[in-house]
């Protein structure tokens, strides 16, 4: 069981286009043979993925291809059926692993923001540092305020989420995840629920994170954005990573027919 997995690991790491100098760096994320079903519906069917520190990986593919489920599995929101997930060399998919401790290292931002509606912005951001990291209230709020300032949200500090625009809410959700100082950020179609004119401000935040060296796995339908920001693009189809490569190669010269069909549809829809 473990042998083919290891060889699968090695292959995907070796074939990664940015992987020429990767041998010396330990991957931050290693996923091997990941399977996940909901009842009889098999959503993930053998995902192999390696992400090195500071790498930005974009997951593209049609709805239902498994992008969101993959991200939710990495964050252990969804229990997996088979395979292994390693973060920083530690197998987080092992039984008896402290789920809460793993999740502290991984920030996730959802399509629907999922801010806590009964708390002000600063409380949303400082809740987890206070309760999980036991940061004193004053210090946690100060740090939250600094983060909000950094992302242009200082004046929204004491507002409640329902008083903010979608773009502002999503930026707060990103800040809330950053407040836990995660090593890895998972972004799950974070602009899909936004009005078109609000998308740019959110993507700007993600660009800033990438520039700061944050390791990210981004599920997105924004192909232009993926092309700009990704070190590597993975095309998901029917629960597998069908093709992976630099954005230049994937978007201009995909090898797989399915990838080409998907991109043609995206172009036809005017989204690339």
């Amino acid at each position: 069981m473990s042998d083919p997995e290891r060889s699968a690991d090695g292959r995907s790491a070796g074939s990664g286009p940015a992987g020429s100098e990767s041998a010396s760096v330990r991957p931050l994320v290693e996923i091997a043979g990941l399977h996940k079903s909901f009842d009889r519906l098999e959503v993930l069917r053998g995902i192999e993925l390696v992400v090195r520190p500071h790498e930005v990986v974009c997951l593209i593919g049609s709805s239902g291809s498994g992008k969101s489920t993959l991200l939710r599995c990495i964050n252990l929101i969804e229990p997996i059926d088979a395979g292994r997930i390693l973060i920083d060399g530690e197998e987080i998919s092992a039984p008896n692993v402290d789920v809460d401790r793993i999740r502290r290292k991984i920030g996730i931002v959802f399509q629907a923001f999922n801010l806590f509606p009964h708390m002000s912005v600063v409380d949303n951001v400082s809740l987890a540092p206070r309760k999980v990291l036991r940061t004193p209230k004053a210090k946690a709020e100060l740090e939250a305020t600094e983060l909000l300032e950094r992302f242009g949200l200082a004046d929204k500090r004491d507002e409640y989420p329902d008083r903010l625009s979608g773009g502002q809410q999503q930026r707060v959700a990103i800040v809330r995840a950053l407040a836990m100082k995660p090593e890895l950020m998972l972004l799950d179609e974070i602009t899909s629920a936004l009005d078109p004119e609000l998308v740019a401000e959110v993507l700007a935040v993600v660009r800033e994170l990438a520039a700061g060296g944050m390791t990210m796995i981004i599920a997105t339908h924004e192909m232009g954005f993926a092309r700009d920001i990704a070190d590597r693009v993975c095309f998901l189809d029917a629960g597998r990573i069908l093709e992976t490569g630099t954005p230049e190669r994937i978007f201009s010269d995909p090898t797989e027919l399915r990838t080409r069909q998907f991109l043609d549809r995206v172009i036809a829809a005017g989204r690339l």
């Binding site: 964050n75 929101i77 809460d100 401790r101 999740r103 502290r104 991984i106 920030g107 996730i108 959802f110 629907a112 999922n114 801010l115 806590f116 509606p117 009964h118 809740l127 987890a128 309760k131 999980v132 329902d162 809330r176 995840a177 836990m180």
Partner: protein, 293 residues
């Protein structure tokens, strides 16, 4: 007889007024508010005149008036009955605090996941089922007469048994209200909290429960209106509260007027709570409509 004969004709007219009033109101909302108010006022006045006339002209009215609306008995009963009502208020307040806590505990225990906790879920489910199925008066009897019957010395008095019985009965209902509230908080809220590293209990405590409790305040108040009234049931195990006191007065005066006093006390006390509930429900609806926009 004349009054009875005129009855059907009058109530027919009354129905006619009401029938016109309600379809008119919908298209007119906003613009014809004054006219609607006027129609409502007239129909109300007519209704009460008709009903009042019917009752006062009934054959048995003079004897009913003597038995239920005796001015002297009324005046004499008020101080005693209002004093006795304080027992109900104390019962109500103590039981309510306990119910809020115990009901929440039951609701939380019932919603805990995992096979290990199956016995906990089973016990709480049985508790809720049993106490919702039993008529309250039976529970009050069993506790009020059963526990003293066990013969422990110094284990309390009727007041404590009454509080215990009311708490057990109402916590079953209230825990279901809480549980509906917990279920109404979208799972994505818990997922967001857990993904930040909060434990299951921390997520419940800081994210799920605050939202759940806020949503169930109106139905909780509704249950407490019921509790307020059910405090009279404990008169059967010997607590001298408002209903028992009015019974005592009735036996003393051979007159039912004390019950009318009791009814009025409850109206004065309960109606404001009912209105408050309505206001909260309306505000809640407005808020969720605003959030949906």
């Amino acid at each position: 007889m004349a009054g009875l004969a005129s009855g059907p004709g009058d109530s027919g007219m009354l129905l006619g007024v009401a029938g016109q009033g309600s379809p008119d109101r919908r298209p007119d909302r906003g613009s014809g508010a004054l006219r609607s108010t006027l129609i409502a006022f007239i129909s109300t006045v007519v209704f009460f005149i008709v009903v009042g006339t019917l009752i006062v002209n009934a054959e048995g009215w003079p004897s009913v008036q003597r038995s239920f609306l005796d001015g002297r008995v009324f005046a004499d009963s008020v101080p005693l009955i209002v004093t006795a009502f304080w027992v109900n208020v104390r019962l109500f307040v103590v039981a309510e605090v306990l119910i809020l806590g115990f009901g929440l505990l039951i609701a939380v225990l019932r919603s805990l996941p995992g096979p290990v906790l199956f016995p906990v879920r089973l016990l709480t489910t049985v508790y809720v089922d049993v106490f919702r199925a039993l008529p309250g008066i039976l529970v009050i009897y069993v506790i009020g007469f059963g526990i003293p019957g066990l013969g422990f010395t110094g284990t309390g008095n009727e007041f404590i048994y009454a509080v215990l019985a009311l708490t057990l009965i109402y916590s079953a209902y209230v825990s279901e209200v809480y549980r509906a509230g917990i279920d109404s908080v979208h799972p994505s809220q818990d997922a967001a909290a857990r993904s930040l590293g909060l434990s299951r209990l921390q997520s419940l405590r800081h994210v799920v429960l605050p939202q759940a409790v806020r949503r169930v305040v109106p139905p909780l108040l509704n249950d407490f209106i019921g509790l307020q009234k059910d405090t009279v049931l404990v008169s059967y195990i010997g607590v001298v509260e408002i209903f028992r006191q009015s019974q005592i007065r009735q036996y003393g005066t051979f007159n039912f007027t004390p019950y009318v006093v009791t009814a009025l006390v409850f109206l004065v006390f309960t109606i404001p709570l009912a209105r408050l509930t309505d206001v909260l429900v309306a505000r809640d609806r407005k808020r969720s409509a605003a959030a949906a926009r």
